[in-house]
């Protein structure tokens, strides 16, 4: 009992600390994102593609955030399936929504870049098709959560675990099936003129992802409290 109340006290203190840090971090994140077009404008051009390669600075960080969200959702879903803890389920659904959001950003910015660089909006190559399927898995996850009825949380959790298992295949697909999409060697071999701007954008996107995730988890926790209050009122 004492251990339980101590754990609850620590959780409340941690939540209070997070809430206090949220506003300053949100300001930092907003400022970083607002300044990012200026950083990108000063970055070097990719020599073969020219100006359109500037989409890279938003396109790749979107996928970084998407993959982080997918792993968060997948691990939390696995925990929910194994232990059945409601908090893991709340974390999973929050990350699942963000996976769909950041995946959408990657899937929209990619074709805008491809239209100029490749001459087509879309190519059904291994990477693009697998990324599209990953997005569909997480859209399906959200639809199952919303309209699946009782027990759908477990079904959706299993879907999220399979979605997570898909990520390494999406990542290495460009190296295995060589097509028009660049390989995974682009980021590690970025020139000094592009590296700084790229990692700045990654930091801005990851900070934004963390804040949106914290806000989304809070929404789920408030909903859980409301449900508990409804149940208490019925007794």
């Amino acid at each position: 009992m004492a251990a339980g109340s101590m754990r609850t006290g620590a959780a409340v203190r941690r939540a209070g600390g997070l809430r206090r840090a949220f506003v300053p971090l949100a300001i930092v994140s907003g400022a970083m994102l607002a300044y990012s077009p200026i950083v990108v404008a000063h970055a070097a051009y990719e020599p073969t593609m020219g100006l359109v390669s500037k989409i890279f600075y938003y396109h790749v960080p979107s996928w970084f955030a998407m993959f982080t969200a997918v792993f968060t959702c997948g691990i939390a879903s696995a925990l929910y399936l194994i232990r059945g803890t409601p908090r893991a389920d709340r974390v999973a659904v929050s990350a699942g929504e963000l996976a769909a959001l950041f995946g959408l950003l990657g899937l929209v910015t990619g074709p805008l870049w491809a239209r100029k660089a490749w001459g087509v909006w879309w190519q059904w190559d291994a990477r693009l098709t697998m990324a599209f399927l990953l997005e569909l898995i997480f859209l399906a996850y959200l639809l199952v959560r919303r309209y699946g009825g009782p027990g759908s949380d477990k079904l959706a959790a299993a879907m999220a675990v399979f979605g997570m298992a898909n990520v390494p295949f999406v990542y290495v697909s460009v190296n295995i099936w060589r097509t028009i999409h660049p390989t995974t060697q682009v980021v590690p071999t970025l020139g000094p003129g592009m590296r700084g701007a790229f990692w700045y954008c990654v930091a801005a996107f990851m900070l934004l992802y963390s804040l949106l995730f914290a806000a989304r988890v809070r929404l789920e926790e408030e909903r859980a409290r409301l449900d508990a209050l409804h149940l208490a009122g019925q007794d």
Partner: protein, 91 residues
């Protein structure tokens, strides 16, 4: 039969000459990409602006949706707490 084999090889090579010559010629209507007129080259700026604007608009809309959903849950909670308080007060 054995004597006709070299003749057939020479004859088939002779037949292949027009095809090889045609393959060496650039296809009609081909223009190298650096010699394209400016009007046929797709401008990059609108694509970049569209990509950045889409990201910004999507993120702002998502943030607003979280804000709205949180506000709704909090107002529901306040109403429920008030109702529960009134019920316990009346008992």
């Amino acid at each position: 039969m054995r004597r006709s084999r070299p003749l057939m090889s020479i004859w088939s090579m002779f037949l292949a000459v027009p095809a090889v010559l045609q393959a060496l010629q650039p296809p009609s209507g081909f223009v190298p990409v650096d010699q394209l007129p400016q009007t046929e080259s797709l401008p990059a700026a609108p694509l970049i602006i569209a990509a950045y604007a889409f990201v910004w608009v999507a993120l702002i809309l998502y943030l607003l949706s979280i804000w709205r959903r949180l506000g709704r849950v909090e107002s529901d909670m306040e109403a429920l707490e008030r109702r529960l308080g009134e019920r316990t007060g009346s008992r």
